[in-house]
Symmetry: C2
Subunit: 238 residues, 2 copies
């Protein structure tokens, strides 16, 4: 094998040889153990979401910064179990959502961030592409509702751009959207905290928000997955 260094061999010896399926269970047990030492005990409803956000980031701040509106988790699970539509603000968040599980439930995931008409609209309006992508999603949902008479449940998952979350607040003000859940976990330094507090102030929508600066596309995807994994799989219609 030709290992160059005893240091390398030492660390190689530390590797636990677990089967792929065992790694996640072991990780979750370690997270719960550490939370226990911090005096934090997760409840059955929000626990799976918090645990998976920590699992995705190795950052225990998510044990304290996630804010759930009443019944937010139940509404999210219900939306996904009934073949909901998920709209993300980045292709990265879309890529992080478990496709197999989503498809098994008839859940579709859309992201309009890289659409050429979104870039054009953003230029015209002087807004971010993320904000324009939410506006486009709202318009498409309205058209779909006119066409079908009824819409599947809708979840917005914002992991990157505070401007997308602010746009969702405006669309709610104007009653242009009626989502079942908004996952608001944009990350960063400019307008991030304010965009989240705007959402937390609302009484007319269910939300899961990471208070403060932290979040990310990975966290948005992790929260969606935590909800997805609580839906019993059903046969894929062919």
């Amino acid at each position: 094998m030709g290992n160059q260094e005893s240091g390398m061999q030492y660390w190689e010896d530390q590797i636990e040889h677990l089967l792929p399926g065992q790694i996640e269970a072991r990780s979750f047990a370690l997270i719960d153990q550490e939370l226990d030492q911090m005096g934090i005990h997760l409840d059955e409803t929000t626990g799976p979401v918090i645990r998976r956000a920590i699992h995705t980031t190795a950052d225990f701040d998510y044990a304290k910064n996630l804010v759930f509106s009443p019944q937010a988790v139940e509404k999210g699970i219900d939306a996904l179990c009934h073949g909901g539509i998920i709209i993300t603000d980045t292709n990265m968040a879309k890529a992080g959502i478990n496709k197999k599980k989503a498809e098994s439930l008839g859940v579709q995931v859309f992201c309009h961030m890289a659409d050429s008409d979104v870039a054009e609209r953003a230029r015209e309006k002087g807004c971010t592409r993320a904000a324009a992508s939410m506006e486009k999603a709202a318009a498409l949902l309205r058209e779909e509702k006119v066409r079908r008479g009824i819409l599947p449940p809708v979840i917005f998952a914002v992991g990157n751009a505070p401007t997308a979350l602010v746009e969702l607040s405006h669309l709610l003000d104007e009653r242009q959207i009626q989502p079942d859940l908004i996952i608001g976990v944009p990350v960063g330094f400019v307008n991030v905290e304010a965009s989240k507090e705007m959402m937390i102030s609302r009484k007319d929508v269910s939300y899961i928000v990471a208070r403060g600066r932290k979040g990310g596309s990975n966290v948005a995807a992790a929260i969606v997955n935590a909800l997805l994994y609580q839906c019993p799989s059903r046969e894929v219609k062919s």
Copy 2:
């Protein structure tokens, strides 16, 4: 507008109205200001990588946990400026890499994680799909080298699976790969620290590693982008 709450209006009033292009510059200035208060001054070489990792996570731990082998940043930039190949361990990391910039340099990004032959190989071998995807990438690179006689520069970017990073260590031991840079920022609780320390112990490869448990596909993509943005764009060959 029908805002429901004075709280909501208060937060809306806190929103800074910046043009899209100004948001990143403002974020970076805030990051540098905060680092300054922590007594941390970034240097010109590793600074852009550290700053972008913090920008992506809002987590200042990245000011301390990123470990760079000598000339790692220079080698990464050089590889990308010369139309390198990037191999990621997740489609999420792949999705987070700036495609326009990569294409402008002739840089290609591959992820074999979701390939059906990788799933099959992982089942046969009892390893993770992430490890099997690295093995497949190494085999494809060897074939490509036989075909072309020479390979473009290669960067592996591991943001999720410690098993992928351990596999890269084994492939290096067996001289099956000679990458220009390994970005080793898997995240989590099982084998993560050991997989990174194995890489840090090596003298035969350039690496950028996030020491400890933290990392992620978003961090891997952010590090790649920080390197990409330092390459002058060139004309896309059509």
